[in-house]
Symmetry: C2
Subunit: 451 residues, 2 copies
């Protein structure tokens, strides 16, 4: 076969790049588990009727067909999941009798969307989701918990650029609009238009509010004034109060958002920040309270890399309703641009710390014995593939970024970075901790700069 | 939505069951990395023309179609991969200029086949593959390496039943048949029929050898005599020699197989065994030397749970050929039956070691502070969801299998398994190591017994 060409929209990593992704996944998983989140993996497919319930994503679904499927139609339609929320909601309903609520789970899997590939948009990509689901009720403190867990997880990824978790609350927005005198339809219309502020000029949005949503000039100005409010602490409450609008739901939303921002304050660092941004609504999605988005410093054009919120009915079987709160990290959206631009890579392409040299094929078993002794003590290593000249065996290590070469005949190990060679016993020799695993290496390249 | 029903052939695990799978994957990955294998993940899809090159699997391929795909045919046909070898061969060719050879990789991913679901056969299942690929050449010692790495990896999974790695060598079989005077077509015919010995009676196979393959009675008897030879050491060599057949390729195969069995001997334990089984041919697959199969003690009806071998041309771009040797563990084939029959589970359904009790909602932050201190020291925990009576909070822990409940007011922690309650400081308290993570629990149930 001729050399294959990559499939657009289906990114893949070289081994050193994949190590970066593994490190990120391991750090996320460790953090989620520290907070009591158990892992779940769902099948890649769902029945088409479930996937197509959300009309606006229908065109993105990949439908599956067996190559020699019979025409009898006995095979029910299935397709690949386009997010991890639809399968998780189904999993909760299917296993409700066997799960303990509140149920915390994390899920790190690929999802597929047949949309046009472009920067930061892929046809196959990985997501890392955390959700907490209750039966019938789920107290608000779980919204705070979700925010804190994701802040901590992203904060631990210290080789990533800094980021800003932006939070808002749908009760706050909807209560404010209701306080302006709008009805349910009017609230939806205004929310949909104000949500366009990240793409449209405020003047244009104001015009649409007047013409499309049919609100008064005062209502439009008030809605736009609310959307300009941002704060890194609970000072936004006073600024909203200053607008003079009152409503019970607004009070509830302000209380929730203020306590969320206050509870996250201890986690704030220079890299890890939180901001109440009252323009964020997350479109017409199913959110009913807290909403989250996340912007990566210097990579704002990627859009939100981590989004979610509170939904009062994640799932329902007609008798029981399962409210939830969750947030989804776009793992590929975050990593693929950083890796492809060379901002992130690893310092070697293999796990091996040591290449054990082979003096002659007849004595390969001596090299094997050294390797076995090192591995028994948790030191990854490989034995040279051939009894080539030592210079060639050293270059074998160099090309892979492996820091040490062991010479069994001499009973010595060489750090090929500085050439230092010392006597060593495979039963006791220990490399420095930072050499034990490949390390993530960062290069500072700002957005848009060629790699 | 009504309670969903499972999709046949798409197995899913409950959280405690998924923990077993995570433990297996982590142990495999750790072992592979100790031997210098780096991780690779390939996209789930491949071009259809690549997937359909092996005619006999074509009916199993799942074809992908975007829901609103235009009819212009601009979208090239793609389908889900049915194994990890086809995508890996493509990955090697696509990235050959960026990889270092010999290239060791492990890959643990789902694959999909549209075949009829049955015991041990799924439409979606996970595999764990290791392969070593060379450019132009790949010395035989890598065959030994692959066998040893997988023996070590399976050996570390000490909660699994014992197993037997069965090895043979295609050069041995083909050289023997050539020594009997058969030509290339005759060798293929006999190999294909002898491979049916696991399903057909030897007398029936003998009859087919005479009628279908057209060999002489003596040739048939010799072929069947070879296939009966099994040995856990290199004594099979003398038994083959006793059959009186000679051929250079036979000698080469005997040498390779004998040195492989000898090199694996140090890894043999009561649970971890190796056996030369001269009946194994792996069908008409692309193998050209060493072949592997694996049987699980007490679960022989699952078939081979781990198979592979040497292929002299894993991939080729016309100018360069990439020989490889590898083995593929059927992770789902192995785990799904054991988990579904209740042989394997975990002792809790969440990662949490501790539930921190909440005395009143107003003092939830005190419980949060205890949890934060425990997590900072690597102890997974969760805070009780409500300030219910302590009895209810203890039952919350019990139902999840969480061993400890922490009472911040009293500054005490209770081991709810034995009721022992002691004063404790979240800055210093340490649970026993075996409590830190969920543990895999095994129940002895032999094959066929109802769970």
């Amino acid at each position: 076969m001729a050399k294959p060409t990559p499939l657009s929209g289906f990114p893949e990593f070289l081994p050193a790049q994949r190590f970066v992704e593994q490190e990120v996944i391991a750090t996320l998983a460790r953090t989620f588990e520290l907070h009591g989140f158990g892992n779940v993996e769902t099948r890649a497919v769902e029945p088409l009727d479930q996937l197509l319930r959300k009309g606006d994503t229908s065109k993105e679904v990949y439908v599956l067909r067996r190559l020699q499927e019979d025409e009898s139609g006995k095979d029910k339609g299935i397709g690949l999941h386009f997010d991890l929320t639809v399968p998780f909601a189904r999993y909760v309903l299917e296993n409700a009798g066997k799960l303990e609520f509140p149920f915390r789970r994390y899920q790190i899997q690929k999802v597929w969307r047949g949309e046009r590939p472009q920067e930061g948009r892929f046809r196959e990509f990985a997501q890392a989701d955390i959700d907490i689901v209750g039966r019938d009720v789920l107290p608000f403190h779980h919204d705070v918990e979700i925010a804190r867990v994701m802040l901590e997880a992203l904060g631990r990824l210290d080789f990533l650029p800094g980021f800003r978790l932006q939070v808002n609350n749908r009760k706050l927005i909807q209560g404010f609009y209701a306080g302006l005198g709008l009805d349910a339809d009017g609230i939806d219309d205004v929310m949909r238009l104000v949500d366009k502020l990240d793409k449209l000029d405020p003047a244009k949005v104001r015009e649409l509010l007047l013409t499309d949503a049919g609100v008064t000039e005062d209502q439009a100005d008030q809605a736009l004034a609310l959307a300009t409010i941002r704060a890194t602490d609970d000072s936004f409450v006073a600024r909203v109060r200053d607008l003079g609008v009152t409503h019970d739901l607004l009070d509830e939303g302000l209380d929730e958002l203020a306590s969320l921002v206050r509870a996250c304050a201890p986690l704030v660092t220079e890299r890890t920040r939180i901001e109440a941004d009252l323009s964020i609504a997350r479109g017409l999605d199913y959110y009913t309270g807290t909403v989250f988005e996340t912007r990566l410093d210097g990579f704002e054009s990627l859009g939100s890399i981590c989004s979610g919120g509170r939904y009062d009915a994640l799932a329902s079987d007609g008798r029981t309703t399962y409210p939830g709160v969750g947030i989804s990290l776009g793992l590929s959206r975050l990593l693929v641009p950083l890796v492809q631009r060379g901002v992130l890579t690893a310092d070697r392409s293999v796990p091996s710390v040591v290449v054990v040299a082979v003096t002659a094929e007849e004595t390969r078993s001596e090299a094997d014995a050294v390797a076995t002794a090192l591995r028994a003590r948790g030191i990854p290593c490989e034995v040279a593939p051939s009894a080539a000249k030592f210079g060639k065996q050293i270059r074998h290590a160099e090309r892979r970024g492996i820091p040490y070469v062991w010479f069994p005949d001499q009973g010595e190990v060489k750090d090929i970075r500085d050439g230092n060679q010392v006597a060593a016993d495979p039963a006791t020799w220990q490399p420095p901790t930072q050499d034990l695993r490949p390390q993530v290496v960062t290069t500072t390249i700002s957005e848009g700069e060629p790699s």
